[in-house]
């Protein structure tokens, strides 16, 4: 087990392995996302209340799910890097952060667009959107902290501490926001996070989530490869490869 980790942890090996893995994530992701898009936009029936507007759910819900999933992945990678001093894990955390921030941003934008036909306004302070916004702040803080160090190793470990503190806080933040929004129920009309959707609408949603997961896998392979190249730009194995 340890031998395997160290072998995988060596940059040249990881670089090659990630290159081989990427297409195994990329093509299925593309297929599933296309299938779910077709299913969601064409085949699934329109909602009797919201009409066609609800279809943005097929982007919003998977993005929101991925935004939290990515934060957990990032924090776990950072923790592994911090405890077992594995550089590749730190690189993975660094590679994951912008992806997570992008998913969070996408969830916010689609939520906002969804809000327009639903409530007639671009922004509603409902629990889901507000906690997504706070999550975006967490991502931005993480990336800002990482960027402010000159020494990549200190950046790795300092941001790892922040990611771990953050991941402990995420549930607290989430539930405090939910608690806060239920107290102001008059302000928000319905909540986005508990839609009672019929099964024919759910199937494409699950396909889309699976597609997003694979897409994340593909992205992380590509970004991690780039991160390895950036960190190892002076290493001998790269010069030999050229």
């Amino acid at each position: 087990m340890w031998l395997w980790i160290h072998k995988f942890g060596s940059p040249p090996h990881a670089y090659r392995l990630l290159g081989k893995l990427a297409p195994w994530f990329g093509w299925p992701a593309l297929g599933l996302i296309l299938l779910a898009t077709w299913w969601g936009l064409v085949k699934a029936p329109a909602d009797y209340q919201q009409g066609d507007a609800f279809r943005i759910l097929y982007v919003h819900a998977p993005s929101a799910w991925m935004s939290m999933f990515t934060y957990v992945v990032m924090a776990v990678a950072a923790g592994i890097g911090l405890i077992w001093r594995i550089k590749l894990a730190h690189a993975a955390a660094a590679a994951a952060a912008p992806i997570g921030a992008a998913f969070t941003f996408l969830a916010l934008v689609t939520g906002s667009i969804w809000g327009k036909p639903m409530w007639g306004t671009w922004w509603v302070w409902d629990a889901r959107l507000t906690s997504e916004l706070l999550l975006l702040f967490l991502y931005l803080g993480y990336m800002a902290l990482r960027a402010s160090f000159d020494d990549p190793q200190r950046a790795d470990r300092a941001s790892a501490v922040l990611a771990i503190v953050g991941v402990i806080n995420v549930p607290i933040i989430h539930y405090s926001v939910v608690w806060w929004s239920t107290l102001h129920q008059a302000a928000s009309v319905t909540k986005l996070d508990k839609p009672s959707i019929a099964l024919p609408m759910l199937i494409p949603l699950f396909i889309m989530i699976a597609g997003f997961q694979l897409y994340f896998g593909w992205l992380i392979c590509r970004r991690l490869r780039a991160e390895i190249l950036r960190r190892e730009r002076n290493a001998s194995w790269l010069k030999e490869a050229n």
């Binding site: 911090l82 706070l134 702040f137 967490l138 931005l140 803080g141 800002a144 902290l145 402010s148 160090f149 020494d151 200190r154 470990r157 300092a158 501490v161 922040l162 771990i164 503190v165 953050g166 402990i168 806080n169 607290i172 933040i173 405090s176 926001v177 608690w179 806060w180 107290l183």
Partner: protein, 228 residues
Amino acid sequence: MRRAAVSAAARLVFTRDLTLAWRRWDEVAQPLIFYVVVTTLFPLATTPDLTELRKIAGGVLWVAALLSSLLALESLFRSDVEDGTMEQWVLSGQPLGWLLLAKVACHWVLTGLPLVVISPIIGTALGLPFDAWGTLIVSLLLGTATLSVLGGIGAALTVGVRRGSVLLSLLVLPLAMPLLIFGSRAVTMAMDGDSPAGPLQLLAAIFFLVLSLGPLAMSAAIRISVES
């Protein structure tokens, strides 16, 4: 060897910071003045009508408390890291988390506590009724103490960084949102005549969580910061 006990070492850290603050009391007073100034902004920016102000009083007091505590935390570890004191603490053979917690506790006594004490007076100026004083004080006691530890983690992470002050706020404010939500809600509930026990208990729970894990995170962060 006459190894000093952890409690003795923590007491020394606490006394040292009190001594230093006594010789630099102007710096200690600044966050408190900032707190008063910020709360003055709200009536000027909105309305002097006390019945209107009363609606936002809890929120105003809490936002101002949050910001001025953060302002004070920015320089918490800076001088100790820069003059090399911190590396001696790391190498003292004492558990670093306890030393840092003692330092944060002293900082809270010097900045957080005065802020809590002055709050009812400012609250009255914003239309806060006497009945809500107790809740305001308890919520701010728990909230500022929690924030001191949370901010201590942030300050320990950003101490060696360019333009650390803005970064500190960016890191700590999202983490402090639950405090703001529960704290200002507790005050508002007390003003409306409801029992604020729920949010106060949640604040207390967060305080104990942060108190138990915070020293670990602070010492990890300080060890990274003294490397340079």
